[in-house]
């Protein structure tokens, strides 16, 4: 049920996460996926935007199919990054999953109001964290249809 016409095209995922341990765990969890995917990890909000706008060393970076975004990030916080993505006609169709240690109702409400596609509180337990990444992968890469890649055609 994958939206990609060509199953050999990997799904590009951008993970914006400043905690190297969690980034590593996400990478491990996604490596075991049935679906070919490529994970790009950016450690702060500014770097994430450089990647999305293909600035500097990211000139050849792909536009990601899915974004996993932490909220508490150095330089530019997650809500700011979210707001920029969801106001940009070239980026706003990319699903953004908020993955944060926060479970504050205010953060949840703010993120949805800024059109986050969903909000997930990171479990502190590492095994549970891996499970959550796998569930995200399973739902978003095999049940959901992601936006088409060549949206210029549409």
């Amino acid at each position: 049920m994958n939206s990609k016409e060509n199953p050999s095209t990997p799904i590009n995922i951008l993970l914006v996460e400043d905690n190297p341990g969690e980034a590593r765990l996400a990478l491990e969890a996604l490596k075991e996926s049935r679906l070919k995917n490529k994970l790009y990890i950016m450690e702060d909000g500014e770097e994430a935007l450089f990647f999305l706008y293909k600035k500097g060393k990211y000139a050849d970076a792909p536009t990601p199919d899915l974004i996993l975004l932490d909220l508490n990030l150095p330089k530019k916080n997650g809500l700011e990054v979210l707001s920029i993505i969801k106001h940009d006609t070239r980026l706003k169709q990319i699903p953004v999953i908020i993955l944060s240690i926060s479970s504050a109702e205010e953060d949840i409400s703010k993120a949805y109001n800024l059109y986050a596609n969903c909000f997930i509180t990171k479990p502190i337990d590492l095994d549970k964290f891996t499970e959550v990444i796998k569930t995200i992968e399973d739902f978003w890469l095999s049940t959901v249809k992601l936006p088409p890649e060549n949206n210029e055609k549409i």
Binding site: I108, S109, N117, I120, T135, F139, T143, K145, I154
Partner: protein
């Protein structure tokens, strides 16, 4: 988790009674208490969400499952109204449609659909998809509370 204490209200906007019935059966087996409200066209959906007659006493849903091809008011129009309404826009909208047209997928994400799912034609697969939505949106995701 607060979700275990009070039931999750789900609004299903679906004009096919067979699909509505199947979704209901699939959600009945859920580990999480939920109330499913079903409306059959886009106009009814907006009345429900805006608590207009005869829906003055309903609660705002926590999650919306929205078909695209609907009588009276099209699903795309319903989506657009929800996502531009300050009181409604934070409610997650899952598009659940027969369509797998790239244009529909792209357009609905641009209108801030929370996710797009093509309904499988096979009935068992359809039930599995509803259960997968339930598992992801009711147990993994934190739903906004402010919509109430």
């Amino acid at each position: 988790m607060k979700t275990e204490l009070k039931p999750i209200d789900i609004l299903l906007v679906e004009d096919n009674p067979g699909d509505a019935r199947l979704a209901k059966e699939a959600l009945k087996d859920s580990k999480l208490k939920n109330n499913l409200f079903i409306v059959n066209d886009g106009e009814e959906a907006m009345k429900f969400l805006k608590k207009e007659n005869p829906y003055e006493d309903v609660t705002r849903p926590d999650l919306i499952l929205l078909d695209l091809n609907l009588p009276k008011k099209d699903g795309r129009e319903v989506l657009k109204e929800i996502k531009t309404d300050e009181n409604l826009k934070r409610i997650p909208v899952v598009i659940l449609t027969m369509s797998k047209a790239e244009e529909d997928i792209f357009q609905t994400y641009n209108l801030h659909a929370n996710c797009f799912i093509t309904k499988p034609i096979d009935l068992d697969q359809f039930i599995k998809v509803v259960q997968s939505i339930e598992n992801f949106w009711l147990t993994i995701v934190k739903l906004p509370n402010g919509a109430k």
